[in-house]
Each structure stands twice: as structure tokens, then as C-alpha cells.
């Protein structure tokens, strides 16, 4: 099911933006279940694994609880966050044809069963992730000299980027991946540099590489998605931008870039939705 975005009224204050952004995330969360990551099979293992596919479709859940006092958002009645297994597409929303059963089947089975008659209140938004942006903090004892040098150069490159010295920043950052090609942060900042230079497609390319080299770092993956969103927005691809921002916020609700950008994006599209 394609979940349409909602456009809350603009309110001042960054804190309120977070609340709104996370509320939007929750509201849309019913359509966007968390990703399930699969490990590639090692070459010697010939086992074929498949996704967990349910044998029977889930029944349609009842209406949401009445204690939600705020004005319902346009698509809210169509979204069942707590009962994702039994989620049914609305008659009015465009439905993706083939993947519903697969996605439903991969959901955490501890969620509410289809038999419950009262939908529970939306879960509080997950707290923002702690700030993991310091590259120098990743230089720990035992780290290889190449990784240490690469991280330091990346840090230098990011500072040059912030100072607006794009040419110097690019030169530094290109050296980081020469010294250590597994340095995902180097690729991330290369992507950022390309974005600042207006080379959005190349920025996206570098983000793909950064993402593939990041492992178990939701803070940085959120940064990747947020920057991806910025690139898509610059390329005029609003839907992809929104999707990327949402993904960033799912990974880290405290991602400023995604939160602010989402609000701006939705404000831009609000007149159309009205």
C-alpha cells in the first residue's frame, strides 16, 4: 500500500518539528514496516533460504480507538500501526499489487493479534539515537593505522566542507578512500561534497557505496538516507525524497536533516493535497 503523506500545520520551534515529524512517522509507520536484513549465504553453503511466507492471509482489523482526540489526519483511518499483520488496504489508496503477503509475513509476531477488538494507543516515538558523528572518537586503540589515518583525513575533509572549501575537501576525501577503501564515512562525505557541488547523481552514487560499507550503524545510515533525500529533492523527485527522509527518521528520529526537510517538503506539497 502506498501511504500518502500528511501535511501538518507549520509551527515554530525545532522541538515541535521533531514531535510532528515523529508523529508523521508513526502515522505512516503502518505502511512502512521495519526492514528485514538478510545475510548473503557464504559460498560453501548451498542452502536456499526463503522469506517467512504466511500460509493464510490475516483478517481485517476493527476501527481505531476513539480516545484519539486530535483531528484525524486524512489517511489515518486507513492505517493500522499496531496490527500490521492484519493491515488491509483502503479502497481509495493505491495498492501495490503483489507484495502485501510477503511484507506482512515478515513482521514481528509479538504485535497485537487479529482477534483483539481494541487497537492500542500509538507507541511513543523512539528516542533519538545518541550523536555518533565524531569520527575522531572512532579512532580507538587497536585500530589499524590506515583506518586511523583515513578517519583523520575524513574529519579534516568534513571540516573543509563545512568551511566551504569544496576543492580542498574533495582532494582530502579522495585520499581517505585510497588509504582505506572500507571507510564508509569517506564515501559519505564525498557524497556530501558532490551534493554541495550540485552533482546530485554522483552524490547518490557515493551514497550507495557508503551504505553498502556501513554495517550496524543506524546513526550513519540515517545520515545516508537523509542526504539521499536531499539529492532527490534537488533532482525534483519529491516522492523518493520523502521516502528517504522517512527512512532516515525511522532509523534515527533525531536526524535533523530529515526532520526539517520533511516538514519543508510537505509544506511545499500541502496546497496540492488540499
Amino acid at each position: 500500500m502506498r501511504c500518502k503523506s500528511v501535511a501538518p500545520a507549520m509551527v515554530p520551534g525545532r522541538r515541535l518539528n521533531y514531535v510532528l515529524a515523529t508523529t508523521i512517522v508513526l502515522a505512516l509507520g503502518a505502511c512502512e514496516p521495519p526492514r528485514v536484513y538478510r545475510m548473503p549465504v557464504p559460498p560453501s553453503n548451498n542452502t536456499i533460504l526463503g522469506p517467512r511466507v504466511p500460509q493464510t492471509p490475516a483478517p481485517i482489523p476493527p476501527s481505531p480507538p476513539a480516545e484519539v482526540a486530535r483531528k484525524p489526519l486524512p489517511q489515518e483511518t486507513k492505517i493500522r500501526e499496531q496490527d500490521l499483520k492484519s493491515r488491509a488496504p483502503s479502497a481509495n489508496s493505491p495498492v501495490r499489487e503483489t507484495k502485501e503477503p510477503t511484507r506482512q509475513s515478515s513482521i514481528n509476531e509479538n504485535r497485537a493479534t487479529p482477534e483483539s477488538t481494541v487497537a492500542p494507543a500509538p507507541a511513543p516515538p523512539p528516542p533519538p539515537l545518541p550523536d555518533d558523528s565524531s569520527l575522531l572518537a572512532k579512532i580507538t586503540p587497536g585500530i589499524s593505522p590506515q583506518r586511523a589515518a583515513s578517519l583523520r583525513l575524513t574529519d579534516e575533509g568534513s571540516k573543509l566542507l563545512d568551511a566551504g572549501e569544496l576543492g580542498k575537501a574533495l582532494t582530502r576525501l579522495e585520499k581517505t578512500i585510497v588509504i582505506d577503501s572500507s571507510n564508509a564515512y569517506g564515501y559519505f562525505y564525498l557524497a556530501k561534497a558532490q551534493y554541495r557541488l550540485g552533482r546530485y547523481q554522483q552524490s547518490l552514487n557515493f551514497l550507495d557505496v557508503a551504505e553498502s560499507r556501513l554495517s550496524g550503524e543506524p546513526f550513519w545510515l540515517a545520515e545516508v538516507h537523509a542526504l539521499r533525500g536531499e539529492n532527490y529533492r534537488a533532482l525534483g523527485q519529491g516522492q523518493k525524497a520523502e521516502s528517504s527522509y522517512l527512512q532516515a527518521l525511522r532509523l534515527n528520529s533525531g536526524n535533523h536533516t530529515a526532520a526539517d526537510a520533511l516538514i519543508r517538503l510537505q509544506a511545499e506539497t500541502q496546497p496540492v493535497n488540499k
Binding site: 512502512e32 526492514r35 528485514v36 536484513y37 538478510r38 545475510m39 548473503p40 549465504v41 559460498p43 560453501s44 548451498n46 542452502t47 536456499i48 533460504l49 526463503g50 522469506p51 501495490r96 503483489t98 507484495k99 510477503t102 511484507r103 515478515s106 589499524s144 593505522p145 590506515q146 586511523a148 589515518a149 583523520r152 583525513l153 572549501e165 576543492g167 580542498k168 574533495l170 582532494t171 579522495e174 585520499k175 578512500i177 585510497v178 588509504i179 577503501s181 572500507s182 564525498l190 558532490q194 547523481q201 554522483q202 547518490l204 552514487n205 557515493f206 551514497l207 550507495d208 557505496v209 551504505e211 553498502s212 560499507r213 556501513l214 554495517s215 550496524g216 523518493k240 521516502s243
Partner: protein, 762 residues
């Protein structure tokens, strides 16, 4: 009466003839003078000098933890024009090795990098074994974690001769240098008007007395005219126009203008193919310092060099240079330009014997390639006259290693197989190209065994059949798309290695194995490791040649590929550079790099004209690339390239041998995560080589890689992060940021994705 009349007549005719001759002479003289005047004016007021462009190698980044031997660092410094000092370096351009303390002290040069101006500082670099453990700024005591050494000057782009100069104004030249030059070359410069009769007479007297040419009587102005316009011959026919032009120049221009041009024009030495012109360049060349920092002794030597720069060069003989300097110092003292005290102090200055580092083009094939790239954006005039500085990706160390490996490797092959020894144009040839997969930078390029004999660059100009080097594309296509029969290929899929016939377009194709030996049921892994033709053909048939072509193009092969079954065994023509790019994509986790030679182009005023960045694109999933790398590691560990291990190359690496069916081409492409090299061996005239890739190309590759990676850390291919599902279950690496690919198809077509979703292999 008649006699008188005839005599009168003769007289009149003679007068008329004389008048005609005189008039003609005057007219011709006036015309000639005018012509000379125009020539002088054009030169003084137009463009006086052409400034060749300079090509630099990549800079070298030194950082804490990098592996490099102290001796190698010293050698690098020497090639950069640094001089070894026994004492602590006090001037820019000096270094000292303290071997007992395992450290080296360097007073770094100033250098204008493409994006920043670097001011030299004194640094101290400590080693533990062959690893840098500390870098310290001696002036501030602060620790540095990295340091970029300036790139090496490789060669220049010029017409006819390379005149290296930097133009300075007269006011930028220290008065002592000017006075010293005038004292030695033209002490009556400010008195004469272009030619100096007294000087000519004195020179004549001196030369007659010694019965040899001891002195010239030319003024500074005459010397300038000679250098600007005329050849070096000492004949009357050259001397006359030289004198006339000198008079013209003195009439039209001030003494200061003439002097300034002279100081920038004069020839002052040679550094290999590079001529040193002008006082600024000479100051850098001989003393590694700006003009303003020259001592009295150094200024005297500079003036003394003008007459015979190569004969009294301190690079040739410190004693000869010292003798000449002392003569000039004596003249300066006599003329009261310096005091006795200055004279005595200057005499005590010791001129060290320095080794000349010549600028020789050590990478002519690479420079040719670079030039082709540059000519897309710059005219020949711009390249040879505008003084551009071109920074490239080349690693000169690797370049020398690559050249040595190729040349020695071909010689060894000829020694071991005398039938390969040919005379004339069809001698055994080879090519080697080295890339850094992460960035696409071309680190070395050798397009043939002897550039002076053949400038044909086989790295990017020679299209040859890759043979078995093409097979990885078949297996990659199988792993990515699966078979049309429905088979989901994995490294353990069993393939039938036996004879078969592939019929297409009314023709039959029957691949045959080496020695007609067939192995029956083999795993995909084994079929690739042992380069089995028949098994490969079967896989290609199942996958479809169209898919194989698509994968090859996606990875970086740009040449057209025929849609015929034999393509599976490399029946197409490609260049070594394309092969390098394609396999770099695998080495780089599925990210295709753009090959880079030109990195930056800067003009004389330090304006950055062009910057070529690293560009890359994820073209296959990192998981798939990792799987292919693991398979191709088997080629070196157990397969057709296993001899590399016995020859001493033990690092984790992947590769593929390549031999064409008719044994005309021998290839090896091999790579670590950080470095890739492709070697090709064969005859330009398509004669039969008779050797496989493992026999002919692999030894050259092994020799090069052993040397090139000697001080690099040992790295292995890193398993990528797990594949996330996207909203519709499509692995995100098949998302919209991936390109359409050369064949215009989605890299992860739904059919393959659906079948792949049932297999975690991808």
C-alpha cells in the same frame, strides 16, 4: 672631339650606374633596417617567451602508520630536488638522515598544490622498522598525523626545446646580482648605445695576445639580440645584424627594459631535457632558494655561470664552480661592488657537490595518454606555451617497477623460448596497466617494451582478444540472472564439463577444453578456477549471450561485443585498459570507477582550470562482487594462476588468466582490494605466441605486484553489509540509483529478483 665625347659618355654612364647602385643600396638598406626594427619591436612588445606546460606525478601522502623504508623516503626526497645535509636542515630543500635514531629531518619545500599553497616547514619523521611512527613539526613542536610530499616533475610539453623560466621584474632581482652580472658581462652597459667599440678593441687585444678566443666584445644588448633572434654561430654575417639590432633596441627602449629582458632570457644550465633560463630559475636550480636569499658567493657564481653554464656548473664540478666564483668575487672587489669583508666571507662559503636529478620522461606512454586526454580541452599552443601545470595520477615508483617487470619479463621469455626472439618490427611485445580500484586512478602504464622503437600504446590502442579473461563475466551473469532453464546458479552449482554443441543461426559451435580433457560434473567454482571452456560454454548457453554482454558492458567494457556463443570464451577485441576497469569494478565491491589520468590543471596564476574528481557508480551489488572476488581468489590459490603463490606473491588477491584459442594472446589480470594490474603479452603482427597466460603474463604480473605491494598493509576483500529489503522486497542495491546499464536493462530485473528472493546467495 669624338674621343672627348665618348669619354664624357662613359663618365655619365658610370655616374648613373653609381647613382643607381647607391640608390638601390640605400633603398635596400632602409628596407632592411626597417625590417630589423620591426623584428625587434615585435619581440619586445609582443609575446617574448613560450612557457611549456609541466606534468607532475601524483603527490605522496605520508602518514603515521604508513609503510615505507627510510632509504626509499630519502631517495624520493632526492628525486624531488632535496639535498642531503650533514647538519640539521636549516634551509628549505635540505634533509638529514639520522640512521641511528631511525629518523629523518626535512625542511620541506614551498609548493603550490592545485588547491592550496604550501609553505615549507621543518619536520621530523620517526620510524620503527619500515613504519612511520611519528611526524612532528620541528618549528612548533606539534605532532602531525599526515604530510603530503610534493609531486615529482615528470616532463614538460613544449615545442622543439624545453625552456624553463619564470619571468621576474628588474625590481625583483637583488641589486647585487644585477651588479655582478654587469661587472662580468658588460661593465659599460650604461655608457654605450648598443655596441661598445672600446670593449671590442680590448677583447681583440686580449685575444691577439693569447692567440685564442678569451673574451668576447659583445655587449649585453648584443647578447640579448643573439638569444632572441639569431643562431649561435660566430660569423661576420651574424655579427652585423646583431650589432644593428642592438643599436635599434637601445634607441627604442630603456636600459632597464633591456636589462630586465636579458635577466629573464639568458641560458643558465641544463637539467636533462629541461633547459634552465633566466636568473629566477637558475637560483632555484642551483641553490633551491629565491633570488632574494642568495648570498654574496652565490650571486657571484650565478653571474659567473653565464659564459659557460654547463662547464662550470656545480653539478659537474664543485671545484670548477668555486674557481669561477672566486674570479667573479675578485672583479666585484676590484670594482668596489663588495667590501673586503664581504669578499673574505664569500670566499669561505663552501659549495657542496650536488648530484643532478635530471628531468627525464620516465613514462612516455603514460604522457602520450595524458596528452590525448588534455587535447580534448586544450589546443597545442595552450599546452606548449601557456605554462600550465598538470597534475596526474601516476605513481613514478610503480611506473618504474612496471616497466622493469615488463622489459625483464619479456627478455626472460625470449631466453626461455628462443623461437620468440624476432628481429625487425614484429618482436615480442607486452603491455601493463595498473589501476587503483577505489578511485580509478591509473598508477602506471607501459604500452610497450621500447618507446623509442615503437610509440604504439598497447594499453589503450591495441584491441586484442581477451580469451579466458572474459569468463568471469559469464559466471557473473549466471550468478546474477540465473539460467533460462530455471537454474539458480551458486558457486556450488554442478555444471557438466563435457563436449557439447551450441547451435545458433544455422551454425554450430563446439567449445573444447585444453588438451581435450573433460571433467564431467564440476562445481561452478571449479570450472572458473580451472578455466574450463566447455563448462563455461554450457553456462553461457543457459544464461544467454545477451546477459553476458550486458554484464561485460556494465562492468566497464566499452568495445562492441558480438552476440555469438564464442564470446563466452573471449572472442571479441578489447583493450587492456578496458579489462582493467571492468575488473576494478569487482575489486571495488561492484562500484565501477572512471579511469583517471589527469587530476588537475592549473594555469600560471594558480587558477584551477580543471579538476577531475573520482567518479564511481554501483553497477552490481556488493554482495555479488564479493562472491566473484571469492571465486577469483581460487584462481590464484588453487587454479590456473597458482604459480604466483609459489613465486612469492602470498597476499589475498583475485585474478584470471587469459589465453586465446590460437595462443596469440596471453593475459593475466589480478588484484588486491587496493591495487589492480593487467598484463598482456603477444605479437603485434598476430603471430602465434604458443604460451598461455599463466606462462607468459603471470610471471610479469607477479614480479610487479610483489614489488609494488611490498610496503602496503595486507588487506583482504571485506564481506559487505547484509542486504536490506526495500518496500517491495527488491534488494536496495537494485534501486533506482543504479544505471540502466549498457544494454538498457534494469540491473535487477523483476524476474531475477523474484527468483533471487528465494536465495540468500545474493
Amino acid at each position: 672631339m669624338g674621343l672627348i665625347k665618348s669619354k664624357l659618355r662613359i663618365f655619365s654612364l658610370s655616374l648613373v650606374a653609381l647613382l643607381v647602385i647607391t640608390s638601390s643600396g640605400l633603398v635596400f638598406g632602409a628596407w632592411y633596417l626597417k625590417r630589423l626594427e620591426n623584428t625587434v619591436t615585435e619581440k619586445f612588445e609582443g609575446r617574448k617567451w613560450a612557457f611549456p606546460s609541466k606534468i607532475y606525478s601524483d603527490s605522496y601522502l605520508l602518514y603515521v602508520g604508513v609503510g615505507i623504508r627510510l632509504e626509499d623516503l630519502a631517495e624520493k626526497l632526492r628525486r624531488l630536488g632535496y639535498f642531503e645535509s650533514l647538519a640539521e636542515p636549516r634551509a628549505k630543500g635540505e634533509y638529514r638522515i639520522a640512521k641511528s635514531d631511525n629518523l629523518i629531518e626535512i625542511y620541506l619545500h614551498d609548493f603550490d598544490f592545485p588547491t592550496e599553497r604550501f609553505k615549507g616547514v621543518p619536520v621530523r619523521i620517526s620510524f620503527q622498522g619500515t613504519v612511520v611512527t611519528r611526524i612532528e613539526n620541528v618549528a612548533t613542536g606539534k605532532e602531525m598525523f599526515s604530510l603530503e610530499l610534493d609531486p615529482e616533475l615528470m616532463t614538460g610539453l613544449y615545442e622543439r626545446i624545453w625552456q624553463e623560466r619564470k619571468v621576474v621584474k628588474l625590481t625583483e632581482v637583488p641589486p647585487l646580482v644585477v651588479k655582478a652580472i654587469l661587472a662580468v658581462e658588460d661593465e659599460r652597459f650604461y655608457s654605450h648605445h648598443g655596441i661598445d667599440p672600446i670593449g671590442i678593441l680590448r677583447a681583440l687585444w686580449v685575444n691577439l695576445r693569447s692567440m685564442s678566443f678569451q673574451q668576447g666584445g659583445s655587449t649585453l644588448t648584443q647578447q640579448l639580440m643573439k638569444n632572441f633572434f639569431l643562431t649561435d654561430e660566430r660569423t661576420i654575417s651574424r655579427k652585423i645584424p646583431e650589432a644593428v639590432m642592438a643599436l635599434i633596441a637601445e634607441r627604442k627602449y630603456s636600459k632597464e627594459t633591456i636589462l630586465e629582458n636579458y635577466l629573464n632570457e639568458i641560458y643558465l644550465g641544463q637539467r636533462g631535457s629541461q633547459g634552465i633560463f633566466g636568473v629566477w630559475e637558475a637560483s632555484q636550480f642551483y641553490f633551491s632558494k629565491p633570488l632574494a636569499d642568495l648570498t654574496v658567493g652565490e650571486a657571484a657564481l650565478l653571474a659567473g655561470l653565464i659564459r659557460a653554464p654547463n662547464r662550470v656548473s656545480p653539478y659537474r664540478s664543485a671545484e670548477a664552480a668555486t674557481r669561477r666564483r672566486n674570479v667573479v668575487l675578485g672583479k666585484l672587489l676590484d670594482d668596489r661592488i663588495i667590501t673586503r669583508r664581504q669578499y673574505d666571507a664569500a670566499l669561505r662559503e663552501k659549495l657542496p657537490q650536488r648530484a643532478l636529478v635530471k628531468v627525464t620522461n620516465d613514462a612516455p606512454f603514460y604522457v602520450d595518454y595524458l596528452r590525448r586526454e588534455l587535447e580534448e580541452n586544450y589546443s597545442n599552443a595552450e599546452l606548449t606555451k601557456e605554462g600550465l601545470r598538470i597534475f596526474s595520477s601516476l605513481d613514478l615508483n610503480m611506473q618504474r617497477m612496471a616497466e622493469r617487470a615488463l622489459v625483464e619479463g619479456l627478455k626472460k621469455l625470449e631466453a626461455a623460448h628462443p623461437a620468440l626472439r624476432r628481429k625487425g618490427d614484429d618482436s615480442l611485445e607486452g603491455a601493463i596497466v595498473v589501476l587503483r580500484p577505489q578511485t580509478g586512478e591509473i598508477k602506471a602504464m607501459v604500452g610497450g617494451r621500447n618507446y623509442s622503437k615503437s610509440q604504439f600504446n598497447r594499453v589503450f590502442q591495441a584491441k586484442r582478444q581477451p580469451g579466458s579473461v572474459f569468463k568471469p563475466f559469464v559466471y557473473l551473469a549466471a550468478l546474477m540472472f540465473g539460467g533460462q532453464s530455471g537454474v539458480r546458479y551458486t558457486p556450488e552449482t554442478i555444471i557438466n564439463d563435457s563436449q557439447f554443441t551450441w547451435s545458433y543461426d544455422g551454425q554450430d559451435w563446439q567449445p573444447s577444453n585444453y588438451n581435450n580433457e573433460y571433467f564431467g560434473a564440476v562445481t561452478l567454482r571449479r570450472a572458473l578456477e580451472n578455466s574450463l571452456n566447455s563448462a563455461t560454454g554450457r553456462v553461457a548457453q543457459d544464461v544467454g549471450i545477451r546477459r553476458v554482454r550486458e554484464i561485460a558492458h556494465r562492468l566497464g567494457i566499452q568495445s562492441p561485443l558480438p552476440a555469438v556463443p564464442s564470446l563466452a570464451l573471449g572472442a571479441a577485441e578489447v583493450t587492456p585498459l578496458e579489462v582493467a576497469v571492468a575488473f576494478s569494478t569487482l575489486a571495488n565491491g561492484g562500484v565501477r570507477p572512471r579511469p583517471l589520468a589527469v587530476r588537475n590543471v592549473v594555469d600560471q596564476s594558480m587558477q584551477l582550470l580543471e579538476k577531475r574528481d573520482v567518479r564511481s557508480q554501483q553497477v552490481i551489488s556488493p554482495q555479488l562482487a564479493y562472491m566473484m572476488n571469492e571465486l577469483l581468489k581460487g584462481v590464484l590459490d588453487r587454479g590456473t594462476a597458482a604459480m604466483a603463490r609459489r613465486w612469492g606473491f602470498t597476499r589475498p588477491a583475485a585474478g584470471k588468466t587469459g589465453t586465446t584459442n590460437d595462443y596469440k594472446d596471453a593475459w593475466f589480470v589480478g588484484y588486491t582490494p587496493d591495487l589492480l594490474a593487467v598484463v598482456w603479452v603477444g605479437f603485434d603482427g598476430q603471430s602465434k605466441l604458443g604460451l598461455s597466460g599463466a606462462e607468459a603474463a603471470l610471471p610479469i604480473w607477479t614480479e610487479f605486484m610483489k614489488n609494488a605491494t611490498a610496503n602496503m598493509p595486507v588487506t583482504d576483500f571485506v564481506a559487505p553489509a547484509p542486504i536490506p529489503d526495500t518496500d517491495d522486497g527488491v534488494p536496495s542495491k537494485c534501486g533506482p540509483t543504479l544505471p540502466d546499464g549498457g544494454a538498457g536493462t534494469n540491473p535487477c530485473p523483476p524476474a531475477a529478483v523474484q527468483t533471487r528472493s528465494t536465495s540468500d546467495a545474493l
